[in-house]
Every structure is written in structure tokens, then in C-alpha cells.
């Protein structure tokens, strides 16, 4: 009985800490400056205003930014899932010389902070003449070491009898990968896709550096630039943050079931 109530006190405090900042942020996007300064102890607005959202809506080329973001995060995620699962298939299911080396190389790339390679990558893209292009924006991010790991783990938990049966039926690697392994890997695909989509969507520096052209700006980058022009207006800052968070929140609530399943079944045990 005691442990049970202790448990709920613990979860309750944690829940409060997790949720209150989010409520405060959403409420803050509807508050006037005077309200924010005048009623600091209050979680909810005393007087409501929509000027934060109105400002964002009127002054940003919203659809263009949204389109760019969906294109960047969406296409890159799709490619990542494809490339990562292919690479993982080789690492988990095939035996060939260099496999271990390849695996360690992938491991090493996971340890490289993004800022470290930013300038050299920029120079590379310049030499390829890929700055301000969609391939420059997308290709360098189209694989992730973490995704390769996750897929590899997942594939290793799939019974090998399935491949063998398919091979006896005369299937080649491509067919086994595409028809046998991938259909079984839906939870892993959901996990890798959600994590990558989130990361790419939230990425600010990369789109800013690769594209000097404003028509290629992504939604979070556009909102960050916009917010930078209204640093003394908190409602605008909060509204911008919430708008860029919304699409991710939708994806999250749609995909979270698969995501949890992906984590639990991908052999992290």
C-alpha cells in the first residue's frame, strides 16, 4: 500500500514537471506582455490575445515554408529508411569480407558531432556546386548511423529459416530484402522514420547553411528568423515555436504505437 502511494506520488510529481512547462508555453502564446509580467504566478492568461499567431501568419510565406519542410524532412526520411535498411540487411544477413570494418565505420560516424563537419561539408557542397540545391540539402543527411543500428538489431531477431525458405524457392537477395524482411520490419521502420523525421524537422543550422536562397527555407528556420526579429515579444516567440511543433506532434501521436513496438522488438534486450 505504501509503495503503491509512493509510486503514484513519484509519477505525479514527474508528470507535473513534464506537463506544466508545455501548458505554460501554449498559454504564453495567447498572453499579452503586460499579462506575462503582471501575473507571473499564473499558469493561464488573464487577458487573451491572438496577435502572436496573427503576426506569424501575416508575415511569413507559410505554405512555401511548410512545403519546403515537408519536402526536406519527408524525402530525406524516406531515403534514410531505404538506405539504412539496405545497409543493415547486408550487415545482419550477409557474410562477406569487410563487414566488420564497415560496421565499425558506421559506429564511428555516430560519435561525430555535427558542428565538427559543418565547414568541411559546406566546402564539399561548394565544390560539387550543390549549394542552394535540393540534393545538397537532402543527400548528405540521407542516412543515419542510428537507423542502421536499429535495423540491424531488428533484422537479427528475424528467424533465418524465413530467408532459407525463400532461397529454396529461388529468391535472390533483393527479393528476400524487399518481400520477406521489410514487411516484417514495420515497427523498426516506424521507429527510424519517426526519430529521423523529428530530427530533420527540428534542424535549424543545416538548412540555413546549405541554402542561402530564401525560397528554400524550412518552417522552423523561417520561424526562428522571424522570432529573431521579435525578440521582445514573447507571444510571437511562443506562437512560432508552437506552430513548428504542431506537425511533429501530429506525427508523434499517429506513430507512437509503432514506435514503442519498434523499440521493444528491435532486439534491445
Amino acid at each position: 500500500m505504501l509503495t503503491k502511494s509512493l509510486k503514484w506520488i513519484y509519477v505525479g510529481i514527474g508528470l507535473l514537471l513534464a506537463i506544466v512547462p508545455l501548458i505554460w508555453m501554449v498559454a504564453g502564446s495567447f498572453r499579452t506582455e503586460a499579462d506575462l509580467y503582471g501575473h507571473t504566478a499564473s499558469l493561464l492568461p488573464h487577458e487573451w490575445t491572438l496577435h502572436g499567431y496573427r503576426g506569424v501568419w501575416q508575415q511569413l510565406p507559410f505554405l512555401r515554408l511548410l512545403f519546403n519542410s515537408v519536402l526536406f524532412a519527408g524525402v530525406t526520411t524516406a531515403l534514410t529508411v531505404l538506405f539504412d535498411s539496405m545497409c543493415a540487411y547486408a550487415l545482419a544477413r550477409l557474410r562477406f569480407r569487410g563487414r566488420t570494418v564497415a560496421f565499425w565505420l558506421v559506429l564511428v560516424t555516430l560519435m561525430v558531432p555535427f558542428q565538427v563537419t559543418l565547414i568541411p561539408v559546406f566546402m564539399e557542397l561548394f565544390h560539387f556546386d550543390w549549394l542552394n540545391t535540393y540534393q545538397g540539402l537532402i543527400l548528405p543527411r540521407a542516412t543515419s548511423a542510428f537507423g542502421i543500428f536499429l535495423f540491424r538489431q531488428f533484422f537479427m531477431s528475424i528467424p533465418k529459416e524465413l530467408d532459407e525458405a525463400a532461397r529454396i524457392d529461388g529468391a535472390g537477395h533483393l527479393r528476400i530484402y524487399w518481400r520477406v524482411i521489410l514487411p516484417l520490419a514495420k515497427p523498426a521502420i516506424a521507429t527510424v522514420a519517426l526519430l529521423n523525421f523529428t530530427n530533420l524537422w527540428n534542424d535549424l543550422i543545416w538548412p540555413l547553411v546549405v541554402s542561402t536562397d530564401n525560397t528554400m527555407q524550412t518552417l522552423p528556420a523561417g520561424l526562428a528568423l522571424f522570432a529573431g526579429q521579435h525578440v521582445t515579444d514573447h507571444a510571437v516567440l511562443f506562437a512560432g515555436a508552437i506552430i513548428s511543433l504542431l506537425p511533429i506532434a501530429v506525427v508523434f501521436f499517429l506513430a507512437q504505437r509503432y514506435f514503442v513496438a519498434g523499440i521493444s522488438t528491435s532486439g534491445l534486450k
Partner: protein, 414 residues
């Protein structure tokens, strides 16, 4: 075998598909039609409409040139511009930063074009009509690499609800700052990082300085320490301002009516008006020696060394600094005019905002002009000096550390 080929095809389709679909660098200069010039600036404050006007007026008067100005945060420009210009990407013209000695870095990497289109007449940059110290700030080895995009002075903003009569001497300023700090309000908000410099003005007012004519530190001289001590005491003991404020945080406190006074530039006025603060403007009070002093601040406007249209770009700078454009700009923004030949303009003298800022031009000093590594002197020595002293109150100790660092950075040998 079949699979191998299929795989190779799959991989190469995935890769080349993107190559084909991507759009290349578009540069419409090769075709007929007007020449396009792009400009990057960080003018996102209340003064933004003034710059927009210059651009639209220029475009209207020059059908053969089309200028597009993009505004972004100074941070973003700092991240993108150096490598963009080196690689011939990026804008034709930019205001890289309003930091002291900001152009030096670009001169070093041969990224900026020398401005040769100078002289008299409307189609040239009239350097002799610009403040001499600004021209000097942007001149390296006898060559001019930028023109000032603006020249602002700082004035004292005061909240009329809290301040009945603005201070006119430094003693009054200190006195009021302490008295007005009550009931959750701050007497004088002082930002010390990511801001237009406020602390150097306080030091100048109280008879101190940062470096001397040989770029050697003077912060730890007796005069230097004595000039900081009273202000540090006010912050630490009287809490006239929170410590560690950024410029935006200080502005936001003033906007919300939580600060009685703030020293700031003309760009702040429109957003304070919008926020509904009933504020007044006064010249920065006279210093301890009875002489007035304030900070002058400028942002350089420079041309990429790799621009395809050097001629047109210089023409644009000439227009930007012309008498017509500057008169209109001052009226719109409240900034003092860049040009000395507008100093006596009757219209500007009658404008309450412009006149306050313009009246202080002759007393204004630049922060760390042409000091080697000026940005680092600021971030690595001066900001830590203020932040340490306002927290622990030991001005002498903090100043000694800062002095050592400053001399290292400026290359001063004593």
C-alpha cells in the same frame, strides 16, 4: 547476377534521380532585363522600414537594377556570410555585423570589394560628407572597404510614469537609478551581452576608458577602476538592474514598464511605442567632468569581392548614402543623418526624436574602433569584466584579469 544489376540500378536511380531533380544555381543576370542585386542585413528592429524605403526608392529610380534586401538575425549572417563570400555564394552586398571592427575579418580573406566610386555628385559615394571617423573605421591600408549603413547615437529612454524629470548629470543619473529601484521595478536596466554597448558609456561618463591610443588596456588603471566601481555597486547592492541581461531582455523589461530608464539607440523607439510605454527621450547626462558623451554605433555596408556587378553595387551604396535617401531615412527612423551636410537641415532639427539623437553626434564615440581583435576584446575580456564585477563586486581583481587579456589580444606591449 540479376539481383546485382537490379541493386546497382536501384542505388543509382536513387542517387541520380535527385541530381536531376535538383535545381541548379539560378542566376538571371545572363539574360536581358534588369541586373539583380541581393543584400543581406540584420536590420530587424524598429528601424527596418527606413531601410526598406531606401531599397524601394532606389529600385524605382533605377529600372535597370533590381535590389532585393533580405533581413535576418546578425547571428545568422555571422554563420553564413564568411564561407558564402569566400566561395562566391551569398549576396552581392551585406552588412556583416554591427560589432566593432567587423570588416577586418573580410578584408583579411579578400572577400570584400574596394570601393572606388567615391567623389562628389549624386552617383558617387561622397566620402567627404560622411563622418570622418566612420570613413576611417572602414579604411584599411588606405583603401575604403565599406560605407556606413547608418550611424546611431544612444540616448536615455525614460518611463514617464516613473521618472518625473530626467537626470542631466551623472550624479543625478546614479541617484535616480537607485531611488527608482523599488516595488519590482529596476532603476536603470543595463545589458552586458548580445547588446549595444551600455557599460562603456557609464565608464566614459565617470572618467574611465577601455583602451588608450596605443590599444593598451586602461581598465585597471586607478581611473579605470574608479569609473566602474560606483556602477558595479549600484547593480550589486542597489539592484538597479538584473545581472547578465542581454540587450533583448533589457528592452523587454523597459517595454513592460518594469524599468525606469534604459540607454538605447533610435531603433528601439518604434517597438516601445507599439508596446504602449509612455516614454521620454533625453540626451545621455553629462559626465563627471561636465562634458557630455555617448556611444556612436554603425554597421558597415560592404560589397562581395566576387560580385558580378561591382558597378551597380557601388551605385547602390552611393544612393544609400546620398542626401535625398538619408534625409528621408532620418525622418522615418529617428536616426541622425549620416551626412554632415544634413546637420543643419531645418526639418530634422524640428523632429523631436531625430534632434535628440542628432544633437549627440558630436559627443559620440565608437566602441573599440580599429582595435585589433575588437570582437574578442569585447566577448573575452570586457563582457567577463562586467559580469564578474557585478556578481562579486571585486572591480580591481576583475579589471586586472581583463587588462591582461586585452593587451594579449590587441598586441599592446608596455
Amino acid at each position: 547476377m540479376r539481383n546485382k544489376r537490379a541493386l546497382a540500378a536501384l542505388a543509382s536511380v536513387a542517387l541520380t534521380g535527385l541530381l536531376v531533380s535538383g535545381c541548379g544555381n539560378s542566376d538571371d543576370s545572363s539574360g536581358s532585363g534588369p541586373v539583380s542585386l541581393t543584400v543581406w542585413t540584420g536590420f530587424t528592429g524598429g528601424d527596418a522600414p527606413g531601410y526598406d524605403e531606401i531599397v524601394s526608392d532606389f529600385n524605382a529610380a533605377h529600372p535597370d537594377i533590381k535590389v532585393t534586401m533580405t533581413k535576418m538575425s546578425w547571428d545568422t549572417i555571422q554563420q553564413k556570410l564568411p564561407s558564402a563570400w569566400v566561395t562566391g555564394q551569398g549576396p552581392d552586398i551585406a552588412a556583416p555585423s554591427s560589432d566593432p571592427n567587423a570588416i577586418a575579418q573580410y578584408v583579411k580573406t579578400n572577400s570584400v570589394l574596394e570601393i572606388t566610386n567615391t567623389g562628389t555628385g549624386d552617383d558617387k559615394v561622397n566620402t567627404d560628407q560622411l563622418a570622418a571617423e566612420l570613413v576611417k573605421e572602414f579604411t584599411y591600408n588606405g583603401k575604403l572597404y565599406a560605407v556606413p549603413a547608418n550611424y546611431a547615437t544612444l540616448s536615455l529612454y525614460y518611463n514617464k510614469k516613473l521618472v518625473s524629470k530626467p537626470p542631466t548629470t551623472v550624479a543625478e543619473l546614479q541617484d535616480q537609478a537607485a531611488k527608482l529601484t523599488t516595488g519590482g521595478n529596476y532603476g536603470l536596466v543595463l545589458a552586458d551581452n548580445n547588446t549595444i554597448q551600455m557599460w562603456p558609456i557609464l565608464q566614459w561618463l565617470s572618467g574611465g576608458d577601455i583602451v588608450d591610443a596605443n590599444n593598451c588596456s586602461v581598465v585597471s588603471t586607478p581611473a579605470g577602476i574608479a569609473s566602474l566601481q560606483p556602477w558595479v555597486d549600484l547593480v550589486k547592492n542597489k539592484k538597479i538592474s538584473p545581472v547578465g541581461l542581454s540587450g533583448a531582455e533589457a528592452d523587454s523589461l523597459f517595454s513592460a514598464g518594469k524599468a525606469a530608464m534604459e540607454i538605447n539607440g533610435p531603433w528601439a523607439a518604434p517597438s516601445y511605442q507599439k508596446a504602449g510605454v509612455d516614454f521620454g527621450l533625453a540626451a545621455v547626462p553629462a559626465g563627471a567632468d561636465g562634458k557630455p558623451v555617448t556611444l556612436g554605433s554603425t554597421a558597415p555596408l560592404a560589397i562581395s569581392a566576387k560580385t558580378k556587378h561591382p558597378q551597380q553595387a557601388q551605385e547602390f551604396l552611393a544612393y544609400w548614402t546620398s542626401k535625398t535617401a538619408q534625409l528621408k531615412f532620418s525622418k522615418t527612423t529617428g536616426f541622425p543623418p549620416l551626412r554632415t551636410d544634413l546637420g543643419d537641415d531645418a526639418d530634422l532639427k524640428a523632429d523631436p526624436t531625430v534632434s535628440i539623437f542628432a544633437s549627440q553626434v558630436s559627443n559620440a564615440r565608437l566602441y573599440l574602433p580599429q582595435v585589433p581583435n575588437a570582437t574578442k576584446v569585447d566577448t573575452d575580456a570586457y563582457v567577463p569584466l562586467i559580469q564578474t564585477a557585478t556578481r562579486d563586486g571585486d572591480v580591481a581583481g576583475a579589471a586586472a584579469t581583463a587588462a591582461k587579456k586585452i593587451n594579449e589580444l590587441t598586441g599592446c606591449t608596455q
